[in-house]
Symmetry: C2
Subunit: 119 residues, 2 copies
């Protein structure tokens, strides 16, 4: 049976950046905690929207025509097929909600994180 | 295009209890804010898991064999088909994540909230 997930406690269990860790599943969706710092790369997910709920710090999501700035307690959904580039000037912790199996870089490359790593 | 959703600001926009308000969609899933106070009723969702992420206050989810206690920043997923009863001794604000169209009472009755109400 499922247990209670304390997001702050879970975030203490890892320190690597750009490597989402699964904390829970909801049907075929996953909740993933990630620590971000620096600039990621432009990418998109052709088959799914992607939700970002910031837990600590500040996350900028660059879109083709604007920048979205997210603080703790703020949620943003990147629609499927939309190019985006996450940027965190200083370390940010974010909860990502998306279907299981989504590749963090959109297409596989040298920045693709291992998938389905649980903490 | 989607906008940034500040959950605390959204929570200030309503005061009724046991009536989830949609704040965002992720594919065919919805993020719903709800204020809870008092005891809900035993119910289950036969077709879906249901995620609760507490934003403020304390939420107890009674299950058939135990009680789960959730504080702000804590997440719990009730598996599909599992009977549960949410209880909040004092007001609690929670973010619910589940597929669009889920009926809050499982089966329709006098405590069924109107669905798909956005704030």
């Amino acid at each position: 049976m499922n247990s209670v997930i304390n997001l702050k406690e879970k975030a203490k269990l890892f320190s690597d950046h750009w490597s989402p860790k699964v904390v829970a599943e909801l049907n075929d969706y996953q909740f993933k905690l990630a620590k971000l710092e620096g600039e990621f790369e432009w990418h998109k997910h052709d088959d799914t929207d992607e939700a970002f709920l910031v837990q600590a710090g500040q996350l900028v999501i660059e879109l083709f025509d604007r920048k979205v700035i997210l603080h703790a307690g703020e949620l943003f959904v990147v629609p499927k097929g939309v190019m985006h580039k996450p940027v965190a000037e200083t370390e940010c912790t974010v909860l990502i909600i998306e279907p299981k199996g989504v590749i963090n870089t959109g297409e596989v490359n040298e920045r693709t994180a291992e998938n389905d790593i649980w903490i």
